[in-house]
Amino acid sequence: MTGIATHWRLIPQRYNLVGTRCSNCGNKFFPPRDICPDCRRAGNIEEFRFSGDGRVYSYTVIHTPPEGFEFQKPYVLGIIELAEGPRLLSQIVDCKPGDVEIGSRVEKVFRKVIADGREGIIRYGYKFKLKDH
């Protein structure tokens, strides 16, 4: 989940929303896929950087967080539908839980996601904030 090697491999995606697209059918993928589920081996996957604009498709407020997220509670977790189509899961920050609604416009921000205690490694990545706020 939060392993250092995993995070290092995923830095382009987690920092800059670099996903993929299939140049055969035009489908865009975030989180990225190496195989287009519609075209499979006939597909041709290339990198695609998403704008970071989107809307809230669904959301919840986490009151009972997993290990490593205790100090952020309560936090809003939402499914964001990106302007380019795909959906992803992200925290929605810089607002009160009551401010978020299905359909709210959001944009990507760059934040600390999780840290391993006092001396541990900090992992950064995208979160989203309300655009009309």
């Binding site: 919840t60 986490i62 009972t64 290990e67 977790l77 499914i79 899961l89 992200s90």
Partner: protein, 387 residues
């Protein structure tokens, strides 16, 4: 190819926080009870399957196929562990069913087991999150209640489902659990209790969530020819089906529906040659109260979006038009994840033999079980009958 497959024996441990019981003592107890119940000798058993989600993280123990064969005294038989998160049990049953269907096996024992309380509950929650997408869900601070809350919110938004309707699932399943001597929570809760319980992931609260549980269940399967010879009350598996979906919730076409369940159910009904209205009762995967509402929609017991209102009208209670989770479900009976899929089948067998006591569904002839892995990445459906 064998024509039919029957359940000829069933066993289940008590479910709960069982400090005196270990992984091996639980599965051994359930397996022994199932084989005793079948009346056959252990030497006749050709193979063993066991469903378990995460013994490695819960107990540090992998290679449980060998361990279970060894400690159940079924020396040297081929043994296979099957893992598909919370649907490990039903998927193990399906593999056992197929092994008999293939004609290679006559008698197969299938178990499901999870020993979850040897680690702290926050560590158990992290282990359970292994059923989701580690890189794109867990990394963002997602929990399983959180994922189901995202489904609940969307269901409420699209269909006007209310929190009262969702809470009614917990009330009903606790009512049923009172009638099940093996259940973890043999007490009632009121709608107010559920609605006012500790917030976990809005809109879901503690009493919308199934608990962390120790437990095991097992069944003995036989080919039709053998079953007719050795058993006077066989329960037939008329269909076994499975469908998968994306591992991550956000990748689904729609999160207010469980499409893997819809596909698995359609395939099961086709194979069994029945329609949803022919089913007399169902055990469904209510890991969270909203999951039961989406399950009864996918299984065709009510229209899409009507699950909340259908539940509110008591259609799914023991005396309703389609009793759901007479055992107490995952909420009331408990949810030892790998055991759940087999425990559902044990309840179906108990009902179809007419041995369910105060929770017996009258004239039960066809039962359905619905077991889900993760947020819906796997769904396994079985249809069982006593005719």
């Amino acid at each position: 190819m064998t024509s039919r497959v029957a359940v000829i024996g069933a066993g289940i441990t008590e479910f709960g926080e069982l400090w005196d019981e270990s992984f091996r003592s639980l599965i051994t107890e359930a397996g022994t009870e199932a084989i005793n119940d079948s009346g056959i000798e252990g030497e006749k058993i050709d193979a063993l399957y066991v469903g378990s989600m995460s013994p490695g993280l819960f107990s540090g123990q992998e290679h449980v196929s060998s361990l279970v064969a060894d400690h159940s005294g079924l020396k040297c038989i081929p043994a296979t562990r099957v893992e598909a998160a919370c649907s490990s049990g039903a998927l193990a049953l399906r593999e056992a069913y197929l092994s008999i269907k293939s004609g290679e096996m006559d008698y197969v024992v299938v178990g499901g087991v999870e020993k979850m309380t040897d680690i702290a509950s926050n560590s158990a929650a992290v282990t359970l999150m292994g059923a989701g997408d580690q890189e794109w869900e867990a990394f963002k601070g997602a929990t399983f209640p959180g994922l189901y809350a995202l489904m609940a919110r969307r269901h409420m938004y699209e269909y006007g489902t209310t929190l009262e309707q969702i809470s009614q699932v917990s009330v009903k399943n606790h009512d049923n659990a009172v009638l099940n001597p093996k259940a973890q929570f043999r007490f009632r809760v009121t709608l107010e209790d559920v609605m006012n319980s500790t917030p976990v992931a809005d809109p879901l609260r503690l009493l919308h969530c199934s608990p962390i549980t120790d437990g095991a269940a097992a069944v003995v399967l036989a080919s039709g020819e053998k079953a007719r010879k050795v058993c006077d009350n066989p329960v037939w598996i008329n269909a076994s089906s499975c469908s998968t979906d994306t591992i991550a919730l956000h990748d689904r076409e729609c999160v207010s529906r469980t499409d893997a369940a819809t596909r698995a159910a359609r395939e099961a009904y086709r194979r069994a040659g029945i329609k949803p209205q022919d089913v007399d009762f169902a055990e469904v995967h209510d890991c969270f109260a909203i999951a039961e509402i989406m399950a009864i929609e996918s299984l065709g017991f009510c229209q899409l979006g009507e699950g909340g209102r259908f539940t509110e009208k008591d259609e799914t209670s023991i005396n309703g038009s389609i009793p759901v989770n007479t055992s107490g479900g995952l909420k009331g009976k408990g949810h030892p994840v790998g055991a759940t899929g087999i425990a559902q089948v044990v309840e179906a067998v108990t009902q179809l033999r007419g041995e369910a006591g105060k929770r017996q569904v009258e004239n039960a002839k066809i039962g359905l079980t619905h077991n889900v892995g993760g947020s819906g990445g796997t769904c396994v459906v079985h249809i069982l009958s006593n005719e």
